[in-house]
Symmetry: D2
Subunit: 389 residues, 4 copies
């Protein structure tokens, strides 16, 4: 069996999640090639050495350009800071590597367009890591919608709820600084439910959006527990949004209502999605990610109700590779599913979804929402671009 040598650029949170998936994919799935965790790449050699050992990589490198240029490398996996995605991915594609890129694809529509152009020209396999598409419950949801179980779609109602900076005394970490983070809840988590809307329902036609920052100033460093910011505490300005939401008209006539926030105390990583169609409804919450609720209006009138489907059966997407029914899986498995499909696509040199075009579409919608929030009116999302080869 063919071996595919992987170079992972980046080794923080996403590096940890991707590494686990690279290690685990061929332990549970019958892949068409064997991934080899060849080299992990970052800036600080000492940290990198620890990471390589901890995450199972054979070699380390502090120069991503060398990794990208290395002829023995087949795949480049980009999990670095957002502002470096474009440069690394483009170099890798130009070097003929298959590329898996963490979200966001790039920092702007302009940057994403360049990445798509290079990807198209290169003929290489390219994928963006929107791992939530491969939660078995959501893959099952998409399968059911495609097969017509819900009929015509009316509503897409999605929330992404977190709570980590909800306390006004939480300090001004880098994620709350626009220069470093790019954006707040909008790019970080709103982007996910925008992608899932495209995956489950279809293309966005226009949006009316709102971005808002609740806490405008925060302590520069962590304060002692529960103590309010006092005289003498140095404060800094929060320069990202705390919450982002939008109303949406989809091209197919469905209506969307999306909301992302970091200020929903008690919701740790809640992704609550409800889809209503003319024949049925679906409901999902990521905090309960092994379940999918399905209301089938075709059931007899006195026996109708949301079915609580435990998506752990061999008949469900991805689930059969793991454990018997009822033995649930977790967050990390969504990356393993993504990488399993990516490896198969690379092995067969076939396209895989979501790809860089999906990354670009996501960015177009994000920018439309931002523009709408500024202009305080509805804004159209650009049509799918005919210039894409």
């Amino acid at each position: 069996m063919q071996t595919l040598n992987v170079g992972l650029i980046g080794y923080k949170f996403m590096g940890k999640a991707h590494s686990n998936a690279w290690r685990q994919a061929d332990k549970f799935f019958d892949l068409k090639a064997r991934p080899n965790l060849k080299v992990i790449c970052g800036r600080t050699e000492s940290d990198l050495r620890v990471a390589a050992e901890r995450m199972g990589w054979s070699e380390i490198s502090t120069d991503w350009r060398k990794v990208v240029a290395d002829p023995t490398i087949d795949i480049i996996d980009v999990t670095t800071a957002n502002d470096t995605h474009a440069e690394i991915a483009i170099a890798a594609l130009n070097a003929g590597k298959a590329v898996l890129c963490e979200k966001p694809l790039g920092l702007s529509v302009a940057e994403c367009k360049r990445m798509v152009q290079v990807a198209k020209k290169s003929g290489c396999v390219h994928m963006i890591c929107h791992n939530y598409r491969r939660i078995p419950a959501l893959a099952q949801a998409q399968r059911m919608i495609q097969s017509g179980d819900l009929g015509e779609i009316y509503h897409y109602r999605a929330r992404y709820l977190q709570d980590w900076p909800a306390d006004p005394n939480f300090p001004l970490v880098w994620r709350l600084q626009g220069k470093i983070a790019g954006s707040g809840a909008h790019g970080d988590i709103h982007a996910h439910i925008i992608d899932l809307g495209r995956f489950l329902v279809g293309e966005f036609a226009e949006v009316s959006g709102l971005l808002h920052t609740f806490i405008k100033e925060r302590p520069l460093a962590a304060q002692s527990d529960g103590v309010s910011a006092k005289a003498g505490v140095k404060m800094g300005k929060v320069t990202v949004d705390d919450t982002a939401m939008c109303m949406v008209r989809f091209c197919n006539g469905a209506i969307g209502n999306l909301e992302a926030t970091r200020f929903a105390l008690g919701r740790k990583n809640g992704i609550q999605i409800e889809i209503n169609g003319s024949k049925g409804s679906l409901y999902f919450d990521f905090e309960d990610m092994n379940r999918l609720k399905f209301y089938n209006n075709q059931d007899p009138a006195d026996r109708r109700g949301f079915r609580d489907i435990l998506v752990t059966d061999a008949t469900h997407p991805y689930a059969g590779a793991w454990w018997p029914p009822g033995h649930i899986i977790g967050y990390e498995h969504t990356f393993t599913h993504t990488i399993a499909d990516f490896v198969n696509a690379v092995a067969e040199d076939k396209p895989v979804s979501p790809d860089f075009v999906d990354g670009l579409r996501n960015q177009q919608i994000l920018e439309a929402v931002e523009k709408s929030s500024k202009l305080r009116r509805w804004v159209s999302v650009p049509k799918i671009l005919s210039w894409i080869p």
Copy 2:
């Protein structure tokens, strides 16, 4: 339309619940006769006068014998202390009245047998108020089991969970004194899930039971909040069971597991019932009484899950009389349903279920469980009696 004059004996908790039902039944159901709240009867005239006004009765009486003897009275409703049920009900039946009797029917199997004999001989309509049978969700459950939706029944798993005396400092109220209350959790709440087992699954063949008292001594009077019983506090002996449970073999081969307790903190009036059959399962919890969960093994493999049926549709038992779908009803409505059916039975002089024989069967099972707990071994429940006319 015929008017049926009602005499209610007793005006405490059950008197309040029955009165409400008598008032409401013909406001929501098309009854075959009109109930008239004629007289309410109790021992203390001053309290009774307040109760009559509050609960909507035209007259009061402090002598139940006079009420029973009154030729204008058609129905006697018995909600008095448990040790008076037999005497009043028998007198009423002998006077040719239709009788609705609160549970328990009597204090012993012997007493219940006499009541059944008189009821059978009298030819009057007789009913025991096991109101939980007329929760729409449970009436729907029974309908589904009868129609074969669950196939052959394997398991009846029932809990009745309360928590009011779980704090060891809770005082020795009358319900915890055997002389007054007769029994504890066993007769009070275990009796309900025993009745529901007979309603939903069938007759009990044999039981292995356990009765237990956790807190053997309690303060005679209420202590100040949260304070442990201290030196100087007068203590008294708890003479009823705190919890009662049993394993059951049903006549039809099903297996039961029942448990009732007053020591489940956080469970206020939880009646949790699960029934598993060869084709499907049902789940119910009284704290969420407008819902019935139904697992249908005939659904396609990847779309199976417990359906969360909101039992408020016009196609569901009793629900159509009330409000539109999704507008839930509550505890008191179960009495209204009971009395609506009772009134119709009396108007048409037809039998209604559950009747005094069901009250007797319940008592036979209660005593079998007590005997089993004492003997520490399995005990048979008597067969249905052939002597019943």
Copy 3:
């Protein structure tokens, strides 16, 4: 004790719900006056006679003007078609009656303003029946927010979800015709979560709204089950919105996201409300109306979680009047609570909330949302009017 004679105008769905509340209020609450169900008024005498009997009213009348003029009447309860509220309520106030008016107060802001002016001038007690404010769980929520349990409010997230016309073959009933119904989901159910937003969070500053009709044409009459509209079936135009939603900026800085739809299959009467603050969160769903979920960020870190509060305790609003803890109540009880508070206000000649000003505010917001939907941009909600005496 004083008796208050009530004249009920209207006897359909809301008439049934109000009648029940008038009958039941003094059976469970210690009122400061006794309501007497004196006269029920409508147009069709035969139907009215049945309704009076069924709903417990002593007299009937087919002329609301006579009822309003009747000096023995103390209270006028208006549950007629929306386009008659203003005329009847104004006449009643001018006749010195206390007035309870179903929602909507009037058909337009202009009409509502006139009603408020008359109400203020009359000195009579006036109330609008937004009964959902008196669900015990929501009254408890408001109490907790007022007492600071949630800290500063960030988010108000509310859904009102129904499904009755989601099937495209559902016929063109009057509620789907603008001329008769005034509006669709917007005025019918969006209005409720707008009112609850004002009740729980505060005044609305500005809105960005969307009204949409999914099914533009429907069969004029009900078709046989499941059959698609075929050639030959006469179709008519739907002239109301199927869904209405808005993003909101509250005056106090909170952000709202509201959505009402009749196209959410499986949601019968779902009112899902989540409020996030700096110290905690609350969640409520009307289909589970006896429960309130509360996340308290002050709990120890490893013991935090949404508390599932069964709002049936004597310490909770209204609950003590009914049954012991865990014995749940239903939809109709919210009207009983409303009328109990209204009777007490009338007896003591004191203001009660929500009143006609709340009805006006609701209408102002509804119109702002409509305007925003048409203009496709944010629209300000008028400030509270200084001209109100």
Copy 4:
């Protein structure tokens, strides 16, 4: 850092789960030694070669005696058929290896006693793999009970519910044959909730048990879907129990009610545990394994309710090693936690819990329940043995 060479005996379901844990433990936990997946051992060389590759083992062996005798091996992990546990574990202990043994420890109390004696004499680290003790939610539950959050324990209520052979046409697989499987639901899943009862509440004093087989005959081979066993289909006898349950008196005065069944349609791997004490209650369901429900009776009266704790916080047991709060984990992680603790114990030569004595205690209770089921009366569980060195 020290390396510990591991020999895994067995490569089926449990072999897969253990292998994953051996691979993953040092990727997420800071272990005190590094486990090396040296050799995997089984009977069929071809299958074994595939398994070694798939599961990450360096070498294969078809002779467990050689593996046990190999001086380079530090740890023997036993996941073979139940009837071989004793022989392998004893040989490994005698060879001075640390031993991790899958449940059951042995086939009988007699066999378990011998294993305990050898383990004690050997001075080696020994552990039984009751992995469910290391579900973060249950580890948290035990921590809370130990710290007194629940006060005195009254009730342990546990269900283990599966449904795979609930269809009477399901064929007579090896797990339903006593000769091969030893026992049915009793040894397979009842054993787990017995172990959790000891872990969470304490030692069992006496039991009243019931074992039952619903379907006494089954087709010898799988029949075509949904077809009833027909004339001509060869049937065989089911020789294990389908369900096992018991009532329990714990030594500390708590009362237990346990039930395990394979006949609960819709319950795939439901382990539902409720514990009620004098100060609070806990609830857990394995199908929702990242959550723990906690009722705290010390909360203010109107704010009490079961808290829905998402056990994914860094303050919770094991959770901090994985992902941020709200990013859930699954079934396989319980093995990783077990093996992480085992590796640390071996590295430091310290005892670890649960050990072989816990395996023996479990077997003693299983046999007491079987005896009780046969004798149809209560049976005492032996006291903790004084002869253990």
